[in-house]
């Protein structure tokens, strides 16, 4: 209400924002805050962290920082009150190549154990034991012995030394958080022979996978753009590949195209189309010669691209069909009157109308295909010439246990992606509203 009063009082339009708008603004920020928080933590944070990891020589094993491990036990077999016994702490540096600094052991000595002799690093206050050990070398081992006598309370208890767990504190270099940087990871991945072939495979896969899915989708949309009995059923069926879990369809393809027990190969060989079974997902290339020039046909890569087109054509089909159904039919009637043939109608009327959605779909699918990891990983594991950048991230980071190199490849993925996105945003059609 006060905003309106203000407006009436002042002669011109309001400057700045009034209290009501301000309240609205704060409400909006409040409503968006949770979304922002989770996206910052889970998306933006890791993105930055990935850059950080990529300039560090981190191995998978480094995720557990070195620490001192401790094992407590009672030595000597005290049978009666007053017998002497020994509490032993066995200490060990978990790392063979990193030191641990400021190591301190704290524990509570069990009830009924009277300490008579302490190691020199240790001090007692009440039942609390504190041993200041200091810096220990890689691979260091040590035993701390507390000598003393026991009382009945100690004997009565079952494994009294377990009553409190010894606590170790210590600082070690965590390779993830220190400030040593190196470009070793990048040098490593760029100098590897396979990197450039990985890059080439990635582009083949992305371009042909996207193109295949779009062309199939466009064709399928033409099929379903007429009304017939069972159209809803067919549309549902055509969406199956997209809706089903990737894990199910990928393994089905693997089983279907298996060279020994696969249906497709059995059909091809039994019907005499090919002499020997074809290892669709395992064979890198088929050699043939065209006019005397030896050529290679990348078999496994083509199969993987076919899978990509098969799995994602439903998405483009859905969008193209929706767009086609929103085209005004008057235009076609007019064209029909003027004698345009069906192909002309498609080429000169439908296709221009579909260009917008086709280009948007191309951009989206291009980026998503580029980002795709699951499909190739499940189908071939990146073998037989199908390793793309995303599979390489896994290969470097987890199969070879070199997290730093994996993160470096991920940086390459991200940089290429940002380049695409920038190009696309610059040249994308504005009217489709994406």
């Amino acid at each position: 209400m006060s905003a309106q009063n203000q407006q009436q009082d002042s002669s011109g339009p309001p400057k700045g924002i009034g209290p009501m708008q301000r309240r609205e603004m704060w409400l909006a920020y409040l409503m968006l805050a949770p979304t922002f928080a989770i996206i910052l933590i889970i998306v933006a944070g890791p993105l930055l962290a990935n850059f950080w990891i990529s300039v560090k020589p981190v191995q998978l094993a480094d995720l557990r920082p070195p620490t001192v491990l401790v094992n407590e036990r009672v030595r000597g077999k005290p049978a009666a009150a007053g017998d002497s016994a020994e509490i032993q702490y066995r200490l060990r540096n978990s790392s063979q190549d990193a030191e641990v600094r400021n190591v301190v052991l704290t524990d509570e000595v069990p009830e009924g154990f009277n300490v008579t002799a302490l190691p020199e690093d240790c001090a007692m206050s009440g039942r609390d034991l504190t041993c200041t050990i200091g810096t220990v070398d890689p691979g260091w081992r040590e035993r701390l012995k507390l000598e003393g006598t026991v009382t009945d309370a100690f004997l009565a208890a079952n494994r009294p030394e377990r009553a409190s767990k010894p606590v170790i504190e210590g600082d070690a270099d965590n390779i993830l958080t220190n400030f040593d940087f190196s470009l070793e990871n990048f040098r490593r991945i760029f100098s590897a022979d396979e990197f450039w072939s990985v890059l080439r495979v990635t582009f083949y896969y992305t371009i042909f996978g996207t193109g295949g899915a779009l062309v199939l989708g466009l064709f399928a949309a033409q099929l379903l753009h007429t009304t017939f009995v069972g159209r809803g059923f067919v549309r549902g069926l055509f969406l199956f590949p997209y809706v089903s879990p990737v894990i199910a369809v990928a393994f089905t393809w693997v089983v279907l195209f298996d060279p020994f027990s696969g249906t497709v190969n059995a059909l091809l060989t039994k019907m005499g189309v090919v002499a020997d079974p074809i290892n669709f997902f395992g064979q890198r290339a088929i050699e043939y010669s065209l006019f005397g020039i030896p050529m290679e046909f990348p078999l496994a890569l083509t199969t993987v691209i076919a899978f990509e087109a098969w799995r994602y054509f439903p998405l483009s089909f859905l969008f193209i069909l929706a767009r086609m159904q929103s085209i005004n039919t008057d235009m076609y009637e007019a064209a029909e009157m003027d004698g345009a043939t069906p192909l002309q109608q498609f080429w000169y009327l439908s296709l221009p109308q579909l260009m917008g959605i086709l280009s948007v779909l191309f951009l989206l699918r291009f980026i998503w295909t580029f980002n795709k990891f699951d499909d190739i990983f499940l189908l071939t594991g990146g073998n037989a010439g199908t390793r793309t950048l995303t599979v390489d991230v896994y290969e470097q980071g987890f199969a070879l246990s070199n997290l730093g190199a994996g993160a470096a490849v991920a940086v390459v993925v991200f940089v290429v992606l940002v380049t695409f996105a920038t190009l696309f945003i610059r040249f994308s059609p504005k009217e489709e509203g994406l």
């Binding site: 909006a28 067919v234 590949p241 859905l318 980026i367």
Partner: protein
Amino acid sequence: MRPGSILIAAVTGLVWGVTAIVVIAVTLTLITGEVALPQATAAGVAGLASALVFVWRQSSEKSSGMPAWVWSAITLFLILMIGSFAAPFNLPIGIVPVWQGLALILFVLGATWATSVCLSGARLGPMSRYEREVVYIRVAKGIGFVVFTIIVALPFYVMVMTSLKSQQTLLANPLDLSIDFSQGLDGLLRSYVELFTQFNFGRYLLVSAYVSVATVVLTLLFSVPGAYAVSRLRFPGQAFLARSVLLIYMVPAIVLVIPLYAVFSQLGLRNTLTGLLVVYPATTIPVALYMLQGYFRGLPSELEEAGLMDGLSRVGVILKITLPLSLPALASVSLYVFMIAWNEFLFAFMFLDNPDIFTLSRGVVSLNSSEVPRQHLMAGAVIATVPVLVIFLWFERFLVQGLTAGSVKG
């Protein structure tokens, strides 16, 4: 040179003859397990001749009582039988005679029907460009239907049928995808029973359901207020936000995996469902927010303003006016998010080591080893697929509208 009706009819008949015999022979092979070799040459010639007969009879139909397609079918049958020496599938009559007979009838009817639909209206003599293109398009669409149906349905058919077989029969004849009822229901469903009893799949199913539903709830809790703010409230940076939220969806999961793996390992979140329930909503919220804000924008704002006038607070307006109106959008977003969470593989694979909290995706991967027979793997795939397909078929209408409404205008 312009192709006349004779040439077009010949090509149409040839194409359909060959397509029909190949498709039907392969189907026959997969159903019976007997290798049916399609006699493509004979079928092609038969199709060609029958199409010519069809066009000829159609041109002079008034003179004869029998419709053109009957003539065509008879021609097709006779030439096929002569050309293939009465064995159109290269199988002796004695082997699976019922199926062979059925396949033959299906071939004759199918090829005749397809040819006659494609060539209906064609007359002997020259054809105009319009008429020719109509035939081309009919043939292309017909072939398209056949091809699409096969490439979509065949993998799912193989998946289900393989899961019902036993190891020996699979290795003995990979082509035999028939259902062997003689082994009884127990024998048929052996793989499923073993998955549920020995491989803990009942638990995976529950975990997957729990994770997916929880992801849907969390995503909606975050994205509904966010989408409302972006679409209805005015604040600096609104337009920028509305556009950039989709950019988040472009960030590849594989780039996030290494840092999240590192951090979650140190926080002890890695091998837990909590970890998954932090990551999944974060990846689905942007797309949910985008879909919802598109829908909210389409709602008439007068209704909400009326609500505000009548003394409702903003929260009241959202709960009592906006949300009830956007139930279809909420349903489609929920379904979409459910599908994403149910089908998610990468994070489940990287994060989960403990078989007690495997999701279905992770569980099926663990079946992919040389020690586990193939039919178990396929049964696992069926178990993972069926729930999501059932839910999808149930809510298909919502999903289709929701997916396309946010982005397509016009």
